[in-house]
């Protein structure tokens, strides 16, 4: 036998086994090492309350994914960091992106931070999955081939809410007073609202930009009362929205109130007595789809309170990416981008319709909902202070109608 192989062949074979022997631990390790994902989101500051729910959503997703055997047999591990502002977000994103074991970065709520994280991620050739920043410009002129958006963009909520306002005769020939948070997100929503109003024949009688650290709205409320608009539009953000609502009720104004930014956690902070109006939302714990109800129930069991929209986005975002990594068979960035961009790729987003990414701007197209405040007398508990509509758009309309007329410029990858 030895004779037939020959000495040279034996040496070659031996060397090959030797190399394999040396490489084996790393091959074995690669198959059993956890898949590491970095999660950055503001947990302090005025976006902190949403960040708190984002982290709860991520923790629950990790629990569920690992309980189901992980991703292709590998456990999932998430490194969580507080990105209190864009500067901190950049520093932490750089540190995380440099780590070889980090497969991708996800999270964020602030559009400014999301922009800088996406740039860091692109330089490191890693994906950034945006789960909380809404700005149209992130899907437009500031788009990035490495950034995918699980969170809805402003155009989607403006179109959904606008549809409600149109149906209720609150746009054509009506006077709007618009309040917007004075930073990128608020400006973006304001531009969307103004464009929508112009398209449908309305006008403005007031248009204030509010500093993000303002908590007293008495002066604005006096101006609003004097301007006597038909509709008052709030594009405020974070805890500021709660202050505004409470003071709106305090001043006893009865102008119909609507707006394009909504977070359930803020509605709960306002409370049943003072929360009012109709608002667009990516998800609430009242969404009837089976997947949503299963998630809402397990969140309730784990945390003793219902999930909000941010918890849903981070939970679902992580599930979607785990699904993608599993189906692609690894964490290779190029392979993942191609897979996510493929029009045939869709995901269970716990709603009636499956979601898919728009290849032109990487936005996850999905159903949204209109949330309407209940009258205080109808409220049964501290969480169900609103009702949630059927999915928007209707089943006979394509999901693409939601991203029409975005105001963030054209995306070019």
């Amino acid at each position: 036998m030895l004779k037939t192989i020959g000495r040279r062949q034996l040496l070659k074979t031996g060397a090959a086994f030797g190399v394999m022997g040396l490489a084996a631990p790393s091959i074995l390790r690669a198959q059993t090492d956890p898949i590491v994902i970095a999660h950055l989101t503001p947990r302090t500051g005025f976006l902190g309350p949403m960040g708190e729910y984002a982290v709860m959503g991520v923790d629950l997703a990790v629990e569920h994914i690992n309980a189901g055997g992980g991703i292709g047999g590998r456990m999932l591990e998430v490194i969580k960091e507080d990105s209190v502002n864009p500067q901190t977000a950049t520093t932490k994103a750089e540190r995380l992106a440099e780590r070889r074991d980090v497969a991708l970065i996800m999270g964020e709520i602030s559009s400014a931070s999301a922009l800088t994280i996406s740039q860091v991620a692109a330089r490191a050739n890693k994906l950034f999955i945006n789960t909380g920043a809404n700005s149209d410009t992130l899907r437009g002129q500031d788009c990035n081939r490495h950034m995918f958006h699980v969170e809805v963009q402003n155009a989607m909520v403006v179109n959904a809410e606008g549809n409600y306002l149109l149906n209720n005769d609150m746009v054509k020939d009506k006077a709007w007073y618009i309040l917007s948070a004075d930073y990128a997100f608020g400006h973006d929503l304001r531009n969307g609202a103004l464009a929508f109003l112009e398209r449908h024949g309305g006008r403005t009688v007031g248009d204030d930009l509010i500093p993000t650290d303002a908590t007293d709205f008495s002066s604005y409320l006096l101006n609003i009362r004097a301007a006597a608009p038909d509709v008052l539009i709030s594009n405020l953000a974070g805890t500021q929205t709660a202050s505004f609502f409470k003071q709106y009720a305090e001043f006893g104004l009865d102008i119909p109130l609507a707006g394009f930014d909504y977070n359930t956690v803020i509605a709960w902070a306002i409370g049943a007595r003072d929360f009012q109006g109709t608002w667009p939302c990516v998800w609430t714990h009242q969404v009837k789809a089976d997947g949503s109800q299963a998630f809402a129930q397990s969140f309730m069991e784990k945390y003793g309170r219902p999930a909000d929209n941010q918890a849903y986005l981070d939970y679902m975002g992580l599930r979607v990416m785990a699904d993608a990594i599993g189906r692609v068979g690894g964490t290779d960035t190029e392979a993942l981008i191609s897979f996510l961009e493929d029009p045939a790729t869709d995901f269970d987003v716990l709603k009636e319709r499956r979601g898919r990414f728009n290849p032109a701007n990487h936005q996850l197209l999905q159903e949204v909902y209109a949330v309407t405040a209940l009258d205080a007398s109808e409220v049964q508990n501290e969480w169900d202070i609103f009702t949630t509509s059927d999915p928007v758009p209707n089943a006979d309309q394509p999901l693409e109608v939601l991203i029409e007329d975005a105001v963030g410029g054209a995306c070019s990858f």
């Binding site: 729910y53 009362r225 202050s243």
Partner: protein
């Protein structure tokens, strides 16, 4: 248009009374002990959370009395354990100390209650509006201002018309001479810190119905209070009063002129201009000891 403008000025004036309430305590602690209390906003937040916890049991008006008393009791402990070591030291030490204290209070509240804002409904008795000619105003806010004015008047009376106040004022002017007269300033310092922090907590209780209760709610208030104290002049009662009204008026004026996005900037610009003309603030020339 004129009536809107005047409404804004009046609202700014009323706003000023609220700023006064928080800035006054800050100024008192500095005047007597030389401590720059960066934790003042955190005690304001503590007051709001105490209202949130206590109100279901003793109602809003009960919390309005009990919450400041609890905060004052905490303040006495803080004063005895921490502040006493830093009186008349370089203010840098007390800055670091009170900054840490603020972080500890905020993080403790975050740990126990979470970062999620809490809903706190306004008492029914104070809901609704009041008509003052063409000017329609919130009933609750008028109540808030009445409490603020009564508190500030009470502090003025205490400082200017009582033996306690005379000793405190003497302590502010020259603590060494007070010592040679055999009067210990210690109990007065404790009382003043308790009073000042109790007032901050009272402001927190008053804010709970019109702002969401969350761990960082004191940050904005604390910053505004510092601006007021700096403009008014550290240690000056009337300086604080005048500066608080000025800050409120400037803010109201900017919003009245349709320049709302510059309203906060205008307040800092006011501070800048005052400091340029009077580096010690409007009425701050009397205390030189801590400069």
């Amino acid at each position: 248009m004129v009536s809107i403008f005047l409404s804004q000025l009046l609202n700014g004036l009323l706003d000023g009374f609220y700023y006064m309430l928080i800035a006054l305590g800050l100024s008192l602690i500095f005047s007597l002990g030389g401590i720059v209390n960066l934790a003042h906003g955190a005690f304001f937040t503590l007051g709001a959370y105490l209202a949130f916890v206590l109100s279901p049991h003793i109602g809003f008006f009960g919390a309005l009395v009990v919450a400041p008393l609890i905060a004052a009791a905490v303040a006495v402990v803080v004063e005895r354990v921490l502040f006493t070591r830093f009186y008349r030291e370089d203010p840098l030490y007390s800055l670091l100390l009170t900054f840490s204290l603020a972080m500890i209070i905020e993080q403790s509240l975050r740990w126990y209650f979470g970062a999620t804002p809490r809903a706190y409904a306004m008492p029914d008795a104070l809901r609704g509006q009041v008509f003052l000619g063409d000017f329609i105003y919130s009933r609750y806010r008028l109540f808030l201002i009445a409490v603020a004015v009564a508190t500030v008047a009470g502090v003025w009376y205490l400082l200017n018309r009582t033996p306690f106040g005379r000793i405190v004022r003497a302590g502010i002017q020259n603590p060494d001479i007070l010592g040679t007269l055999g009067i210990s300033l210690r109990p007065y310092l404790s009382t003043v810190v308790a009073l000042a922090i109790g007032i901050a907590a009272l402001a927190g209780v008053l804010m709970a119905p019109i702002q969401p209760v969350h761990p960082l709610m004191g940050v904005e208030v604390g910053t505004a209070a510092f601006v007021v104290v700096v403009i008014g002049g550290l240690g000056s009662f009337w300086g604080v009063v005048i500066a608080a009204i000025m800050v409120g008026l400037v803010k109201g004026l900017m919003i009245g002129l349709g320049q709302s996005q510059f309203s906060m900037m205008a307040i800092y610009l006011l501070m800048f201009m005052v400091l340029l003309l009077r580096p010690r603030g409007l009425l701050g020339e009397r205390i030189t000891r801590f400069e």
